[in-house]
Amino acid sequence: MKATERSTIATAFQEISKRAVAHVRELKQNKPYILVGAATCGRAAGALDVLKTFREEIKKRNLDCPVIEVGCMGHCYAEPIVIIGKPGYPPVCYGYVNPVIAERLVNEFILGENPCPEFVIGALEANDILPSFQDFPRAKYEQKIILKNCGHIDPTDIEQYIAAGGYTGLAKAIDMPPEAIINEIKKSGLRGRGGAGFPAGRKWQYGRDAKGTTKYIICNADEGDPGAFVDRAILESDPHSVIEGLIIAGYAVGARYGYIYVRAEYPLAVERVGIALKQSKKLKLSGSNILGSNFNFDIRIFQGSGAFVCGEATAMANSIEGKAGTPRPRPPRMTTSGLFGKPTVVNNVKTLAYVPQIIKNGASWFIKTGTKDSPGTAVFALAGKIVNTGMVEVPMGTTLRQIIFDVGSGIPNKKLFKAVQIGGPSGGCLPEASLDLPVDFDSLQNAGAIMGSGGMVICDEDDCMVEIARYFLEFTQRESCGKCTFCRLGTRQMLEILTDFTQGKGKLEDIDNLEKLAEEVKAGSLCGLGQTAPNPILTTLRYFRNEYEEHIKLGKCPALMCQHLIAYYILPDKCERSCDACIGSCTVEAITPNKKRIKVIDQEKCVKCGTCLKACPPQYNAIVKLSPPSEVPK
C-alpha cells in the first residue's frame, strides 16, 4: 500500500472515531444513564418489562437520562441485570431487577441520592460507598478480553463500540501488509475457539497461500451443543467485535466475501448482526473501499437450520451451497477447496472476536495472558449444579477448581462435587481428581475432554454418570447426519447398551463391548461428530467405571437418578401421622395410610414420578429414594 493511501486510512478513521467519542460523551457525560441487559438470557428473565418500566418512569418525570439496551454481562444467575451510572457515583450493577425495583431505583437513586444497596451486586469500580466487583473472589481470576464490552455497550450503536476502541484494529490492519497481519496472529499463538484449537495464524496462511482469486471467510456461529450460549451472547452483546475480526481475516487471507453462519433459532443475534453490518457499511468499515483503501469486503448472514452437524466446517459449506448438510471427506482441506470449491477459512465467533484486540494491542500483549501453548483467555458457560451460572472469561491455565469454586462459587445446597462435563456432546466428564488441572486445550485433551464450545456442566452427587453419558449419546445419535456407517449405526448400538445399563438390563461383558465400539466409532467415523461422540462414554468409563459396574452387578444407581433402579420409600419413624401431604400429591393413588396412619407406598402402583418426595414437608422429610429397589423393607 502506498504511503498516501496509508495516511488517508488513518485520517478517515480518526474522523469516525472523533465523532463516535463525541456521540458517547453527549449520551452519557454529566448525567445519569441506565443500561439494561436484554440479551436472550436477560429477556427470558423479564428484562424487557424492566426496560419498559425504566423508559416509562424516565419519560413520566421528564428526566434527561438515557435508558440503553445492552447485551449480557455474564452474570446470568442474577438476571435481569441493570447498570446505573450517575455523576458522583461509580457505575453500579444491580441484579434480579423487576419492574417494582426499577421504579424504586428511579425514585431513590436517579432522583434521590440512595443507591439502594440492597439490590446491588457490585459497583464496577472500587469505591468507599458500595461493594465492588473487585472485592469478589472471582475478580482475582476473571480477565475480560472478548467479553469486555458485553453488557456495557449498546450492540445496535456502532459509535459506542468505536468509542470503546473498536475498529482501531481494522484501521491499523489495512495499513499493514496482509503477511504482517498473519505473522502477528501467528506470533500471538491464537488458537481456534470452535473446539479443536487449531492455530488461527496457520489456517490463515494456508488460506492466503491457496491458489485462486475468489476466497471466503466463514464465521461459524452454528453453536449447536446443548447448553452452549457464549457465541450467541457475544453476537447479541458485541456483534461488531466479530464483524471487525472477520474483516481483518478477510484482508489477511485475501478474501472478497465473508459469511456469518448463524442458526435461525438465534433471531436476536441475527437481528443485531444485521443492524451492525448495515452500520459498518454506512461508515465504510465494510463493503467497498474500506476506509478509503482499495480493499473490498462484503459480509452476508446465512441462517442455518440448526443441525448440530452443520457446525462442522465441510457440512456448513454444503449447507450454504444449498446442498444437504452432510460432511465431505478431507482432504482436501477447506483452505484448499471449501465453499463453492474455493479456498475457505472457517473460524469460530470467539476466535474472530480476539483478532481486533490482538492487532490493536499487539501479539506480545496477548501472550502475556494464558499459557505458553494456549495463550489468551478461555470463555466458559457455567451450568448445572453451580451457584453462579453464566459466562466467565478467565486466563487459560486457570484450574478447574478455581473456575468452579472461586469464580462459580461452588455447588449449591451443600452437595458434593462429583464431575464436570466440559465441551458438550464431544467432550468428557472429569472427576474430582482432575480439579487441579490447569485448563487449556492440551491438558483437557489429555484428560479425555475437549475445550469444545466452552460448555461446562457441573454435576453433584445426585447426578449419575451412566445417565450423563446416555444423555449426550442420545443427542449425538439423533444429530448424526447418517451418512457414514460408524456414526449412523455405531452411536445407535452404543445408545442401546447404555439404555440397558440405566434400566438394569445390562450384562458385564457389555461394558467391554461398549468400550470397544466407542474406540471404533472414534477411529472410523467420517467427521468430527462421530469421531468425538464416544468421548462422554470413554471418559465416564475411565473415571467412573465403578458406577457402571454397580448398575450392572447390583442393579443399583449410586446417584439415585436412574428411575428403573430406584424405589421411593416412606420412613415409618419419620412419617407424621396427622399429615396427608403425599397422599394427595400422588397422581396414581399409590400411597395409603396403614392402621397406625403411617403412609405406605404401593411399589406396584408407583410410577416413580417423585412428586411425593417434594410434597413431604421439610420438617418431616420422611420420603427417601432407595437403590436397588429391593432395599425397600418388606
Binding site: P331, G482, C484, T485, G490, T491, L517, L526
Partner: protein, 220 residues
C-alpha cells in the same frame, strides 16, 4: 503423462497422478472392500467406511477411496488395524441388514458376501445386537422392487438416478439411524420412474432387485 509408482501388498503398480488409491488398486486387480465408491463421481462419498488400508509412515489406517496415490507409497491392505476397522464397520452394517440370503435374488453376486469372504468374517453379527427397521418394500415398479431393509446406503443408485435431471427419483431422507433410501415425498417409485433400471444394476446388495423373470433387457 508421468505415472506414479506405488506398492500394494508387495505388488508394484503404476497409477495416474491424482488417482485415488482405491481405484488404482481395483484397476490392478487388487480388491479392497468398498461399497460407496463411484468411479465417475468426482468427490468420494467416503460413507461406507470399509476401504481401510495402512500406509507406511502413517500411524492410523486411512480410507483408500479418499487418499490420492503418491510416488513411492507403500500400502498394506491386510494390516491388523485396517482389518479391524473394516470388520467393525461391516459388522455394524450387517447388524442392521435384513439377512436372508437363501431367499434373496442377489445370493451369489451380493457384494456383502464378497466382503465377508475377503474380511474372513461372518455375515451374521456376533458381537452386536440386531437393529432392524422393518421398513415397507416398494414393489410399484413392474421391473424391480426396492427393499430398504437390505440397503446399505451406499448411494450408487442415487448417483445413477440423478445423473440426468429429468430422472432424479431416488434420494436419501432423514438423519442418523433413520436415514433411508426413498423417493421425493415417499411416493411409490413408479410415479416418476423412467424404467432405465440402472439403479438395479449398480446396487451391491439385494435392496434393488429385478422381479422374478425380469432383467434389464426388458426395458420397455
Amino acid at each position: 503423462m508421468k505415472m506414479v509408482n506405488l506398492t500394494i501388498d508387495g505388488k508394484k503398480i503404476k497409477a495416474r497422478p491424482g488417482e485415488k488409491l482405491l481405484w488404482a488398486a481395483l484397476d490392478n486387480g487388487i480388491y479392497i472392500p468398498n461399497l460407496c465408491a463411484i468411479k465417475d463421481k468426482p468427490e468420494p462419498n467416503a460413507a461406507c467406511r470399509l476401504c481401510w488400508v495402512e500406509i507406511e509412515g502413517n500411524k492410523e489406517p486411512v480410507t483408500a477411496c479418499t487418499i490420492e496415490v503418491a510416488d513411492g507409497m507403500v500400502v498394506n491392505i491386510r494390516g491388523q488395524n485396517a482389518l479391524a476397522l473394516a470388520r467393525a464397520g461391516f459388522e455394524l452394517l450387517m447388524a442392521s441388514h435384513a439377512l436372508d440370503c437363501a431367499h434373496c435374488s442377489a445370493n451369489g453376486v451380493c457384494e456383502l458376501q464378497k466382503i465377508a469372504k475377503t474380511l474372513k468374517c461372518s455375515l451374521k453379527p456376533r458381537r452386536l445386537r440386531l437393529l432392524l427397521r422393518d421398513l415397507s418394500v416398494d414393489d410399484s415398479n413392474p421391473l424391480f422392487t426396492l427393499d430398504p431393509n437390505k440397503c446399505v446406503l451406499c448411494g450408487r443408485c442415487v448417483w445413477e438416478c440423478r445423473k440426468s435431471k429429468e430422472k432424479a427419483v431416488l434420494g436419501f431422507a432423514h438423519r442418523g439411524f433413520d436415514r433411508v433410501l426413498t423417493t421425493f415425498g415417499d411416493e411409490p417409485i413408479e410415479e416418476r420412474c423412467m424404467n432405465c433400471s440402472t439403479c438395479v444394476e449398480v446396487c451391491p446388495t439385494g435392496a434393488l432387485a429385478f422381479k422374478e423373470g425380469k432383467k434389464s433387457a426388458d426395458i420397455a
